[in-house]
């Protein structure tokens, strides 16, 4: 049969006569005899032609009419074509196994390991990380100037610290920020924003929020979250790269949804432990429920919403209010009238620019 041959050394075309003998394609071009074993032929179907290559032929390419190829080789030709499909099946299976393993590590293994990893993180390292966080946050969130209020907050932090087994020195302080929040940093620092202090109506509410943050420090939740997101981030990035395709984004989204689930669990745990700490000190734990009820009202929510909760790092506020109310007990106020007044005055309004 007629064929067109390129020898893979130059682009010069050769017209060749191809014969089949002893399981090989035989042809001669430019004075050289070629024998290409049928086993191991690679076939590309190009409309009415096929382009053949093989390891023995290096870069050489032989083009035949598809009809010739089918007629002469019969079932063998189809078998060669099917070999490529089998190789692909193996690739897909191995990749699926790798993908599944990665998913198991990210969604099950890492979250399970994050607790022990956090517990075994040297406190000094955690302190160092916390200091670095604090320095960076300090660029945007300045410490409030009211010394008396700051001292009252710090005292309360140390009071609760004594009830915990934490290796960290708990340092609570008020900072100026454009939002209402309180946050525990790695290593024992707790920041309470001026907007949050203004939002709370009673000493009970503020003490409940701080106790919640102290519980985060005690349980090393922040370190756990760092281990989880570091591991998951690294592994998922390793899988999907920096790609922006929908599939790649979906994998990353699944990763962060899994992270949020664990984060909500940690929040619920901190709620419960925070109330325990207050009660152990003989303090009122009745501030948490009204606080969350007002947060929920601010969210514009009418009822606890599982859908909204799914995309949030915190459990639904109304649900938290219900749970807190059920476990609340009366007790002394964490701050006396004078301390409360000094805390409320810890962040005086910024002077207007001239």
């Amino acid at each position: 049969m007629d064929g067109a041959f390129f020898d893979g050394r130059t682009s010069r075309p050769h017209q060749v006569d191809v014969a089949i003998s002893e399981g090989a394609l035989l042809f001669e071009a430019g004075g050289t005899r070629h024998a290409w074993p049928l086993e191991g032929l690679r076939v590309e179907v190009l409309g009415d032609r096929v382009r053949l290559s093989c390891d023995a032929g290096a870069d050489g390419r032989l083009t035949l009419s598809r009809a010739d190829w089918r007629a002469v080789l019969g079932r063998h030709g189809r078998r060669v074509e099917a070999r490529g499909r089998r190789r692909e099946g193996r690739v897909v299976l191995s990749l699926a196994a790798v993908g599944l393993t990665m998913a198991a590590i990210v969604f099950v293994g890492l979250p399970a390991a994050s607790g022990p990893l956090a517990r075994h993180t040297p406190p000094d390292l955690e302190r160092q990380i916390g200091d670095s966080f604090d320095a960076q946050l300090g660029l945007g969130m300045k410490t409030c100037s009211g010394g008396e209020g700051q001292a009252a907050l710090a005292r309360f932090g140390h009071q609760l610290q004594a009830r915990t087994g934490t290796p960290f020195d708990i340092r609570v302080r008020a900072v100026r920020a454009p939002f209402a929040n309180a946050m525990a940093l790695p290593g024992g620092r707790i920041l309470v924003t001026d907007k949050l202090i203004a939002f709370t109506r009673t000493p009970d509410e503020l003490s409940a929020v701080i106790a919640h943050e102290v519980a985060h420090v005690e349980r090393r939740h922040v370190m756990q979250a760092m281990w989880r997101s570091l591991g998951a981030g690294l592994l998922l990035d390793l899988v999907v790269g920096g790609g922006s395709g929908a599939g790649q984004q979906a994998v990353l989204l699944a990763g962060s949804a899994s992270d949020l689930r664990y984060s909500r669990r940690a929040e619920a745990e901190a709620d419960a432990r925070g109330m325990e700490l207050l009660q152990a000190e003989g303090l009122s734990s009745q501030g948490m429920a009204p606080f969350f009820r007002r947060v929920a009202a601010g969210d514009g929510e009418k009822a606890a919403s599982p859908l909204r909760e799914l995309v949030s790092s915190h459990p639904d506020s109304l649900r938290r209010a219900q749970v807190s109310a059920a476990h609340a007990r009366p007790g002394a106020a964490a701050f006396d009238t004078q301390a409360w007044a000094s805390i409320r005055a810890a962040c005086p309004p910024a002077r207007a620019p001239h």
Binding site: S11, Q15, G47, T63, G245, G247
Partner: protein, 363 residues
């Protein structure tokens, strides 16, 4: 298929391009790749992309001989792993480590890294093109790309900075200049392509760019103004308005904006492609891309809609449409000695790792 061992008396030919791209074949492939990506947490994408190229290359003909793509999915996968381990991980360690040095030190370390990332982006682009050339065969002979990837990386950074300083004014010239090393360094076997900036400049691009940039700029600020006005009004009426409605609004405005953007910039895109192709030559053969702005606009609008509707799943169809559009408009005059090219070396063993990490793969 060939008349003799000697196609023309001196082996000299004019170049005729043709394509037999069947979009239906890429539709099926899109679905298959999408499903396999799902099963493999997107790891299949390297093999998927390889198959798209293989089908595309073999549907593009030069003088009745189809091109061939010889790249392997495994090569792309390994390239990606190397890039992650050799570049991604060290960068991550440096950036994370800088956090411990205090905010001022961190800024001192991170700013140069950002600049370096742009150099890396150019480096990655050149590397990806080099890999692509080395895996492209015609008549059994490989293409190759010569030139310095590092120099290309720094040119990329330089042109980018110039564009920033000139508020984007320099960017069209930069895009044309950046095409230079990619085409001037290209060889078919040992046959050298040339890129002449002077020849490329004969097709004006700023005439199409200036009105587009002005109109789009005005439009962009108008839309942003409307979004802010609505947001401001919504906040006054109901301070705790849910963000969801706002996000929907922003997307509802951005979609028509991107459609208009495609239409407005289509004359420039067409001119840019015509200009770059006019600068390319192979021996005495010169090239011409007969792309008009309306065709370009329809191509890009179709691509945009396909990608939005399918959430990116139909990317292979978009690539096939684009190749079909460009190849059927690619013409050549003059001749080149295509029959005496001598084989090029095998080229790099892995490819595109960095470009993939940057999400910067364009075929």
């Amino acid at each position: 298929m060939f008349n003799s061992d000697n196609p023309t008396p001196e082996g000299v030919e004019t170049l005729t391009f043709a394509q037999k791209v069947r979009l239906g074949s890429f539709l099926g492939l899109s679905v298959k790749n999408g499903l396999l990506n799902l099963v493999t947490l997107t790891l299949y994408r390297f093999w998927g992309r390889t198959e798209v190229r293989r089908r595309l290359w073999q549907a593009i003909y030069l003088n009745d001989e189809p091109f061939e793509y010889t790249g392997r999915g495994g090569e792309l996968f390994r390239g990606f792993l190397y890039a992650m381990l050799l570049v991604g991980l060290p960068l991550l360690v440096v950036v994370a480590g800088a956090q411990f040095l205090g905010p001022k030190f961190a800024a001192l370390i991170i700013f140069p890294i950002y600049l370096f990332l742009f150099v890396l982006f150019g480096f990655a682009r050149f590397s990806a093109f080099r890999y692509l050339a080395s895996r492209t065969l015609w008549r059994g002979v490989r293409f190759q790309l010569k030139g310095s990837r590092i120099r290309y990386g720094f040119s990329y950074l330089g042109y980018l900075l110039l564009s920033v300083i000139t508020l984007g004014w320099f960017w069209p010239a930069a895009e044309r200049r950046l095409a230079g090393p990619l085409w001037d360094g290209l060889r078919f076997g040992d046959r050298r392509f040339r890129f002449s900036l002077d020849a490329a400049r004969k097709i004006p691009i700023y005439r199409a760019f200036i009105p587009a940039a002005l109109v789009f700029g005005v439009l962009y600020f108008a839309v942003m103004g409307v979004i802010f006005a609505i947001r401001f009004a919504a906040q006054k009426a109901q301070p705790a308005a849910p963000d969801g409605a706002m996000i929907v609004l922003i997307y509802a405005m951005l979609l028509p904006l991107s459609v208009l953007g495609v239409l407005i910039f289509a004359p420039y895109q067409a001119a840019r492609l015509r200009s770059v192709v006019a600068g390319i030559s192979l021996e005495d053969a010169r090239f011409r891309l007969e792309v008009k702005w309306w065709g370009m606009a329809m191509l890009e609008l179709g691509n945009l809609l396909l990608l939005i509707i399918s959430l990116g799943l139909l990317f292979p169809v978009v690539e096939a449409r684009t190749a079909r559009f460009l190849i059927s408009r690619l013409k050549s005059t003059g001749t080149a000695d295509l029959a005496s090219a001598v084989q090029a070396p095998r080229g790099p063993g892995t490819g595109e790792g960095l470009a993939d990490a940057f999400g910067a793969i364009n075929l």
